[in-house]
């Protein structure tokens, strides 16, 4: 049973339930206590030891059902020919030596199931990763069970003719049924061990996919990427949300202790320890929403909005020809669709960085103080208009940090109408940001180092 449990752990891991060696040991101890007899007890007890969140409990239950269902299900046995003495009748003498042939002809379901389990172990079916491996693995499974023997017997029986033909037909039918069972078996293994890995592979790929790719992002991917962005943001939020007021235990605050001791005639009754305050960043996001950058802007906004636990204040602005504040739009619409609303208002204008910065300077400059991190997302392609570097310089002076995210690779910067090299001088950080992975890393940097002057 130990091997079965180990297989079960592997299936759980494939379904994203973390099972560490220590938990595996706990599970074995659990099984020692509760035994296998009561299926429900067995399941609940294992669930308590192995699944650690409500989410994992659901996944645990589905894996448990699939996995242990397979264990109890035997391939449906062939009805043995009724009223006949020897099921092997009519087959050539080689058949007597083949175990598999005898099992097939006798319709011994339990023995067949056992043989299939054993063969599956030899063929390493449970190592399945991709759906394309299914056909090859079913074939190997059948070979391990002794399919080649059966084929030899079939050929020999056909040569015999007469009674051999009838036997061969029955064997042929049994072989087909067996092949179907093997395919179903492999299918279930795939479901157990590999269905999750396909999705994970896809998510990894999406995290590295270029956001401003030609032709945009597939709507199917779009939903998956939105979910991915939210998860990334949640991960960061969890990491940074609880560090606002860390006590430095052991570091005496001499000044405040002395001050408090005044009331006791200089006796330090109240000991005060130093505390370190970690304040939350406040962010001003300025996004170019011209066609080439809109997709990236949408993900940046989703990301930032999902961070509300760790971000003190978030102000978002969008521009192409002119700049507008989009906080209102983002409050009224879900982030996923807000970008379309913004495009309705200011889309289809000619991008003008200088004008947009002017708008910002006129109306919103007071939003920036020394606690603010300004994140600008744009390709810095300003159609040869005046880039108004002086305004960016003012922003830089007033803010804590200016971070410029450019969806274009660095080699494209300052080619054609891009003025990135001129803007770059006024940014604390200027980075290429064209995939979700890069986006996550940069936001992580903002939260962690909280880039100082």
């Amino acid at each position: 049973m130990q091997a079965a449990l180990e297989d079960f752990f592997r299936a759980l891991r494939a379904a994203d339930v973390r099972v560490s060696p220590a938990e595996a040991i706990d599970a074995h101890r659990t099984v020692d206590v509760v035994g296998f007899a009561d299926r429900e007890l067995f399941r609940d007890a294992l669930c308590a030891t192995l699944a650690k969140t409500a989410d994992e409990v659901t996944r645990f239950e589905s894996v448990f059902d699939t996995f242990f269902d397979r264990r109890s299900e035997a391939p449906s046995p062939q009805a043995p020919p009724e009223g006949q003495g020897d099921p092997m009748e009519g087959l050539p003498p080689e058949a007597q030596e083949s175990d598999l042939a005898r099992m097939l002809m006798a319709g011994d379901g339990a023995a067949l199931a056992q043989a299939m389990e054993a063969a599956a172990e030899r063929a390493e079916v449970s190592r399945i990763r991709l759906s394309t491996q299914r056909a090859r693995l079913s074939r190997r499974l059948l070979e391990e069970m002794g399919l080649s023997e059966i084929e030899r017997i079939l050929a020999a029986a056909r040569r015999l003719g007469g009674p051999g033909e009838a036997g061969a037909e029955r064997l042929e039918a049994a072989r087909k049924a067996l092949a179907a069972q093997a395919a179903a078996y492999v299918e279930r293994q795939h479901e157990l061990y590999a269905s999750g890995s396909g999705k994970r592979l896809r998510e990894e790929m999406l995290a590295r996919k270029a956001l401003n790719a030609e032709g945009g992002i597939d709507p199917v991917d779009q939903a998956m990427m939105q979910a991915l962005v939210k998860r990334m943001a949640k991960r960061l939020a969890d990491r940074y949300s609880r560090r606002r007021n860390v006590a430095w235990t052991g570091h005496l605050d001499v000044r405040r202790t002395l001050r408090k001791s005044m009331g006791y005639g200089g006796m330090p009754f109240d000991i005060v320890f130093k505390t370190k305050k970690v304040d939350k960043p406040s962010i001003v996001a300025i996004c170019d929403v011209s066609k080439s950058v809109a997709a990236a802007a949408q993900f940046l906004l989703t990301f930032l909005y999902s961070l509300n636990e760790v971000v003190d204040r978030l102000e978002a602005f969008a521009f192409s020809g002119r700049m507008i504040s989009v906080n209102g739009v983002l409050d009224d619409h879900p982030v996923e669709t807000a970008i379309f609303e913004v495009l309705k208002q200011i889309g289809f204008q000619q991008t003008d960085y200088g004008k947009s910065l002017e708008d910002f300077a006129d109306q919103h400059m007071d939003r920036i103080d020394r606690h603010t991190t300004v994140i600008i997302l744009g390709d810095a392609r300003s159609n040869y208009a005046n880039p108004r570097l002086d305004i960016l310089a003012t922003i830089q002076k007033r803010s804590r940090a200016v971070i410029w995210l450019n969806p274009e690779p660095e080699s494209y910067w300052s080619q054609g109408d891009s003025v990135m090299n001129r803007y770059e001088r006024f940014c604390h950080v200027a980075k290429t940001c064209n995939t979700l992975e890069q986006l996550e890393r940069i936001i992580d940097d903002v939260l962690r180092t909280y880039i100082p002057h």
Binding site: R18, E23, V34, L41, C47, K52, T53, R242, F269
Partner: protein, 320 residues
């Protein structure tokens, strides 16, 4: 290890922990109607000597489970409420600074006398070293909940409430306590529990807990109960309530949970509501009474406003 193994034997040997069914009926006797899953988790926690992490929305009976376990086993309950900024000095122990200072002041003269005949500075220092430890000994130690729990010789139930509200640093500090049932105090050494307490941690999912902590605990998620279980709970918690009223009000609450509310009523609200209805001598749900007592069930103004127009319809469904 031997002593702790023997001691744990006690709780596990209790007749209530002979089987899951015994545990379910034992808990029912002290007023906790447990589903089989809850009982299984508790059973495993005691058998494997592991802390149990209870999650679920507010009011599903997380804290109650710990209270009832303590009542069932006749053990004292030590409760520690977590909050942001909770640290070792509040959770584990603290030196009684004031007492230490007071004693040094009072004993100042005695010390002068004791040190007066020391021939030189070194000898005086040596004597002082001998005395110094006096002030860092048990009488000056103020034990806080965690240490109290470890010091209970007969064992106890330790409830660490709302662990998700504490800081990550505190969570890390708990690891030693939870896995080895011991704590290290720099001045005194390692303090190990003679009888490991039965530990409950509760969480409202304000934040995700660390993997290290989760790994050391058994996990129990208490969902909102189904109608049958909830009826049993109401009947057990509110003695003297009529079966018909119980059925009606539980159905009403269950259908409320299907609505899109900011905070769905959980078990504690159902029980409170049942008590309120008994006090008002209501023997069936009626529009008037429900409207007046809705604030027992729903805790947000928006929710009450949203539900009020539907009351008649909901009562009709509950009656059917």
């Amino acid at each position: 290890m031997t002593s702790s193994a023997e001691a744990a034997f006690d709780a596990a040997q209790s007749p209530h922990f002979a089987s899951i069914d015994a545990l379910v009926s034992g808990l029912a006797e002290v007023g906790y109607i447990a589903s089989r899953r809850i009982a299984t988790s508790l059973y495993m926690a005691v058998r494997l000597q592991k802390p149990i992490l209870v999650e679920g929305t507010a009011g599903v009976g997380k804290t109650e489970l710990a209270l009832c376990t303590a009542a069932l086993l006749g053990l004292p309950l030590i409760r520690m409420q977590c909050y942001e900024g909770l640290d070792e000095s509040k959770a584990l122990y603290e030196w009684k600074y004031g007492k230490q200072l007071l004693y040094t002041q009072i004993l100042k003269d005695r010390m002068g006398v004791a040190l007066a005949d020391a021939p030189d500075m070194d000898a005086a220092m040596d004597r002082l070293h001998g005395m110094g430890d006096l002030f860092f000994s048990e009488p000056f130690l103020e034990p806080r909940p965690l240490m109290k729990a470890l010091q209970e010789r007969e064992g106890c139930v330790l409830l660490i409430d709302e662990i998700d509200k504490s800081d990550e640093a505190f969570e890390a500090f708990l690891l030693e306590v939870l896995s080895a049932y011991q704590v290290s105090i720099p001045e005194l050494g390692v303090l190990k529990a003679e009888t490991p307490p039965i530990v409950f941690l509760t969480s409202n999912n304000v934040r995700d807990l660390g993997d290290a902590l989760k790994r050391r605990c058994l996990h129990l998620h208490i969902p909102l109960p189904d109608a049958a279980l909830e009826k049993k709970i109401v009947a057990s918690r509110v003695p003297g309530i009529e079966a018909r009223l119980t059925a009606q009000l539980v159905d009403f609450v269950q259908s409320l949970r299907g609505l899109d509310l900011r905070k769905s009523p959980s078990i504690s609200e159902t029980v409170d509501w049942a008590r309120a209805l008994i006090l008002l001598n209501a023997d069936a749900l009626e529009g008037e009474v429900v409207r007046d007592t809705l604030n027992v069930l729903l805790k947000f103004e928006q929710d009450i406003v949203a539900v009020e127009p539907q009351i008649a319809e909901l009562i009709r469904q509950a009656g059917a």
